[in-house]
């Protein structure tokens, strides 16, 4: 229903912020963002408006959440094995 892409705030000028999306910069409006935004924050863009300020540590928390969900379903062991298989494959790829 909407393409929210996270970007990093480079500068703020009143109700407008310059945000960097992996090398592409765009002006976003701050009318509806849920918290005060400062330079260096991550925000979610939707149709030119920042709709959410993403707390920096949320990325790690989301990964922890995935592990926790996997843990509950007893698949954690497989994941560990999968991760190990992933590392080996990656190493072979680099030779």
């Amino acid at each position: 229903m909407c393409l929210g892409v996270p970007g990093k705030v480079l500068a703020i000028d009143g109700m407008s912020a310059t945000v960097d999306f992996f090398g592409v910069r765009k002006e976003l409006r701050l009318d509806i963002v849920d918290e005060p935004v400062s330079v260096g924050d991550y925000v979610l863009n939707h149709v030119g408006f920042a709709i959410r300020r993403i707390p920096p540590d949320e990325v790690q928390e989301t990964l922890a959440l995935f592990d926790q969900i996997l843990d509950v379903s007893g698949a954690k062991a497989d994941l560990m094995a999968a991760d190990v298989r992933g590392e080996i494959a990656a190493a072979k790829h680099k030779e």
Partner: protein, 340 residues
């Protein structure tokens, strides 16, 4: 109130299914048998037998808007476009190009001189002499600034069509995809995206010459992914070669800026136009040789194998995303920024 289909829409000119339908329904009635590749092949150009060689001919009209854009302009685009269409047929030494222009009354002379300077420079880069032309002017508002048509002719010993793929062949793209279309789109739809989004427009005859020298007969299909992007070309190659094509999405070379802009406006770089890239089908045994030759050339530095032809599902293009596989739809019409 007649059915809307009675009018030509923008979709009929954007390289997708609607355009192909219009050509098949209306223009193919012009086709007549020719000794070689004619209109009905719907290839990048025509190839007519002359003695024991082929006369390759191609023509293109350019109506890009804006006419000056990051990385290029309509002048460089017009020469490169025709040189590249000839090269995709295997004709990498153009004998001559034409340049027919239609100008709007009031078009700034300084802009015209800038466009022509860019044509001159690109023609020199491609070693393609411009030998004749035509100039028309229309009243204010009767045409949008400038329309530029270029035609190219060349002789070739062997013609490479876009129908030569067989099961087991590999498909190479000569560099990052989506650069040109994303640069134009970010300007045209006033998306106000700043950043390194610039067109890749460039003549490819030198690059293709290296690929043909390395791969010879094992280079079996070539096409430049302009309107309709790489997806459009792969659909054509799959249909004409009567093979399925499986794309390895994780191998697709996409610049960060193009990927980011694509994610923001909901457009897949596979569908976006390129003006300095080629899609090359090659027998598996020669893929490494051709890749090495491409990568040794400045315009082919990030060339890579992106897909494999398979015997199953002829005409289908399948995307292996790294998570699962899905059918890749044929580009529809004009690409528009999306919100949903």
């Amino acid at each position: 109130m007649e059915k809307p289909q009675a009018k030509i829409g923008l979709k009929h000119g954007s390289g997708g299914r609607a355009m192909r339908q219009l050509i098949e329904d209306v223009f193919l009635t012009l086709a007549s048998p020719v000794d070689g590749i004619g209109l009905s092949a719907l290839d990048d150009g025509a190839a007519i037998r002359v003695g024991d060689r082929w006369l390759v001919v191609t023509t293109d009209s350019h109506v890009v808007h804006p006419i000056f854009f990051p990385g290029g302009d309509i002048g460089r685009l017009s020469v490169s476009g025709t040189v590249n269409d000839l090269a995709m047929m295997g004709a990498t030494e153009p004998l001559g190009l034409t340049c027919a222009v239609v100008l709007e009354e009031g078009f700034p002379r300084a802009d015209l001189e800038r466009v022509v300077a860019s044509m001159r420079e690109t023609a020199r880069e491609a070693n393609a002499p411009i030998v004749t032309g035509d100039t028309k002017v229309m009243g204010k508002g009767e045409v949008d600034g400038i329309v530029l048509n270029t035609t190219g002719v060349a002789l070739a010993d062997r013609v490479v069509s876009d129908a030569g793929l067989r099961a087991g062949d590999l498909v190479i793209v000569t560099g990052t995809i989506g650069d040109h279309g994303m640069a134009i789109m970010s300007r045209r739809h006033d998306l106000r995206l700043e950043g390194d989004l610039r067109s890749d427009v460039a003549p490819l005859n030198g690059l293709v010459r290296e690929a043909l020298r390395a791969g010879g007969e094992d280079v079996v299909a070539m096409k430049d992914p302009t309107r309709g992007g790489v997806a459009g070309v792969l659909h054509e190659m799959a249909a004409k070669g009567k093979v399925g094509i499986v794309i390895d999405e994780t191998a697709l070379p996409v610049r960060d800026e193009v990927r980011a802009a694509g994610e923001m406006i909901g457009i897949d770089p596979l569908l976006v136009a390129n003006e300095g890239k080629a899609v090359i089908g090659v027998r598996a045994r020669s893929a490494d040789k051709v890749l090495a030759a491409l990568r040794a050339h400045p315009l082919g530095a990030s060339a890579i194998v992106i897909a494999t032809a398979i015997g199953e599902r002829p005409g289908a293009v399948i995307l292996d995303t790294g998570f699962g596989k899905r059918m890749l739809a044929e580009p529809e019409g004009e690409l528009l920024p999306r919100i949903c």
